[in-house]
């Protein structure tokens, strides 16, 4: 097989990619990473999903699937003295990445360039592309308790600060319509022999990428080469708020619901063995279904899952 493009969010995608680079040469893999969750904390540009992919592939990710293993929080603790909110936990070693990124962006480098530099510094062999060099902000509109206008929350505010508790009235990708995909993104999608949608949140991890002009069309044109891995097993999310966000969007929280979102651009959906009884519901959306153990318990499991996904294309 030639090159493989993978659309990726955070933790689930990173774990899948760890298996993918064991299944194929890492240099054949182009990862298109979500930047809708990017935000500025304490003046620093933070790219949570890109860093989760980088740190995971470098074998340095923290136990929770983000940040760096063994990191300390001295700077953040000291920052509290200045009365600033520190609910977004940035570790001391992790901060170096955000400092470097921010410094380079201020110097005029693009996010694509800086991301490549950071990936190189961590020894990554995959090509890691931010979905866009333009600012796209995933916004959660939170239903007002008083029945008034929804309250706008940045994704990290809703997810981390508010622990994904406030009821969701809607999700928007601010800036997406005016943003351009990163300079190598559409080319990667056009030229890849296989395109994988990682087991990421379809609404807020893959959704922002699909919202960029040209991306959905590029995938539709390659639909037979597109394989998605369901992030939903037996109607539940493996990690993160995919269930709540799908439900808020009126999408059934199931592998069939995932198929309904991806139907126009994805030829095959890989669902968990335990969802074998839902194959018919998936295929009702015009998406072929295949079954495999999709809960990745370790790198071996991730590798097996990646091989299975690739088998469905070639």
């Amino acid at each position: 097989m030639g090159t493989i493009a993978a659309l990726a969010g955070g933790v689930g995608a990173a774990r899948f990619l760890r298996g993918l680079v064991r299944a194929v040469p890492a240099t054949d893999v182009v990862v298109v990473g979500n930047t809708g969750d990017d935000d500025v904390f304490h003046g620093l540009h933070v790219s949570p999903d890109l860093d989760t992919v980088t740190y995971t592939l470098a074998g340095a990710v923290g136990a929770m699937g983000w940040g760096l293993a063994g990191d300390t929080f001295r700077t953040l603790e000291a920052y509290e003295r200045y009365g600033e909110a520190t609910w977004f936990r940035l570790g001391d070693a992790d901060l170096a990445t955000h400092l470097y990124r921010t410094s380079r962006l201020r110097e005029g480098a693009t996010l694509t360039e800086v991301t490549a530099e950071i990936a190189l510094a961590w020894g990554l062999k995959v090509k890691l592309l931010p979905m866009s060099d333009d600012r796209v902000a995933t916004v959660i509109d939170v239903a007002s308790a008083q029945g008034g206008e929804p309250v706008r929350m940045a994704m990290q505010e809703w997810f981390v600060r508010e622990r994904a508790q406030p009821p969701v009235a809607g999700v928007r990708f601010e800036g997406a319509a005016e943003a351009r995909p990163g300079p190598a993104v559409l080319e990667a999608l056009r030229e890849a022999d296989a395109i994988l949608l990682c087991p990421s949140n379809p609404v807020i991890s893959i959704g922002p990428i699909l919202a960029l002009p040209g991306v959905r069309d590029a995938l539709r044109a390659r639909r037979e080469q597109v394989v998605a891995v369901s992030p939903i097993i037996r109607g539940a999310t493996v990690k993160g708020p995919a269930d709540r966000l799908m439900a808020a969007a009126g999408i059934e929280v199931s592998c069939a619901g995932v198929a309904s979102i991806y139907a126009d651009l994805c030829g095959t959906l890989l669902v968990d063995d335990s969802d074998a009884d839902r194959v018919g519901d998936v295929e009702r959306h015009g998406v072929r279904a295949a079954v495999a153990p999709i809960l990745m318990r370790d790198a071996d499991g991730a590798e097996a899952l990646a091989r299975r996904a690739l088998d469905l294309v070639s």
Copy 2:
């Protein structure tokens, strides 16, 4: 006595101020701090002298007289991965200060405003004023070994990175002629009942403050209220490169040399007991000399020195 204005550099000044706030109510003290050493590291605005004053008065300064006691260097160590020079040692807790300052400056706050916020956060009761909100850069012109043009080095490059070793051809305060003193600086000098020149490097700590338009004139007008504490004892610097920089400027490295620099704006110079034999040489410059133990071994010594300096005004 009413209000006291103190012109301050870094470590020596901070130790003196620690004594001053024991001698008089801290709320009566206005400190005008040197910002010629300010620089940008990893995208962060660092104000070494202001922070040394803040941390020292807060009782939190590191053993070397800068940074925070017990600080760690995780971020800086991690930063080395990105191939950036990390010779300027910024600790993890210290970084919070630089992050906060930089973030606030980007939001449009002035350095005067941010400095006051930081001082407040550390519980300081003195008013700490940066000498200017405009950028002034102390530059060391290093003599070329090949006899060519001098090489421009930022103060911290010469002092920290190069350990003050390269031969000095000259010192300049870039931007000083166009800079304005901070909004409350000249007023503080006009209204203070006593003005103290802390035992700081006269060339690169007090020099940049004096280079700002209006400051030297304001001091000349208050010459009888101005008392300086010599940073030179028996022809040697207590700490830092004052000796080398005075010599490079063709100034005698002695309390008499200090008197020659300050003669037009300072009525009295306090010299060390051990320099009693140089009183005549000081007074030859038209500056009254007084003697006291000026080496501050502890807070008690600093307090005694501050009281002695104030006695010379009132």
